[in-house]
Symmetry: C2
Subunit: 116 residues, 2 copies
């Protein structure tokens, strides 16, 4: 039997989720692909769903996060400086958190006997 | 606008949840009330639902966690030594985790400007 700790963290503004691991991954995918469609594909969601997530994030934070450009070659989507800043902050917050949670878990449960 | 971090932690055995904040609260309520019915009431759930949660925890961990006694005065439920041990461990793991997550959040997001 394998025992493991799991955790989730997210950020709310006035009680509504504005940033989570999933939302940060979507922003990251937009940054890396330059396209909301490609980012949605990578996340395994529809364009419409991805766009809805971004719109809710923008509404809740009252910030413009993604700029979509129309173009002869299909246009593209880019993060605003504000969205890039949030993504950096979230990654800074999130990095190392797992190790920290794992460390606490191991010190509390590391010696438990599951064989009984 | 008020920005805050939220988190959830739980423990899995072979990919199935055996302990979480809610499950630990249920064990704690049984310990404090000596009754599964009163514990369920306190948690705002039915007796049947509370009993189902305990049964799943016992099945997944292969440990007896709650002993229910029949009695002329209604009987009662008590935690096994194993369940008390798990509860102590979970509380040790969980206590202070919020402060830790809050601290990381404040250092990453504390200076953000939400007024724009």
């Amino acid at each position: 039997m394998n025992m493991a700790v799991r955790s989730k963290v997210w950020i709310e503004i006035d009680g509504e989720v504005v940033l989570s691991q999933g939302k940060a991954s979507l922003l990251e995918a937009i940054q890396e692909t330059g396209s909301l469609q490609k980012a949605a594909d990578r996340m395994g969601m529809s364009y419409r769903h991805a766009w809805g997530i971004i719109q809710k994030m923008e509404h809740r934070s009252r910030k413009k996060l993604v700029i979509t450009k129309q173009g002869r070659n299909g246009g593209g989507s880019v993060l605003t400086p504000e969205a890039r800043d949030w993504l950096l902050r979230f990654n800074k917050f999130h990095d190392g958190l797992r190790e920290l949670v794992d460390g606490r878990f191991n010190s509390a449960f590391g010696d438990i006997d599951l064989s009984g």
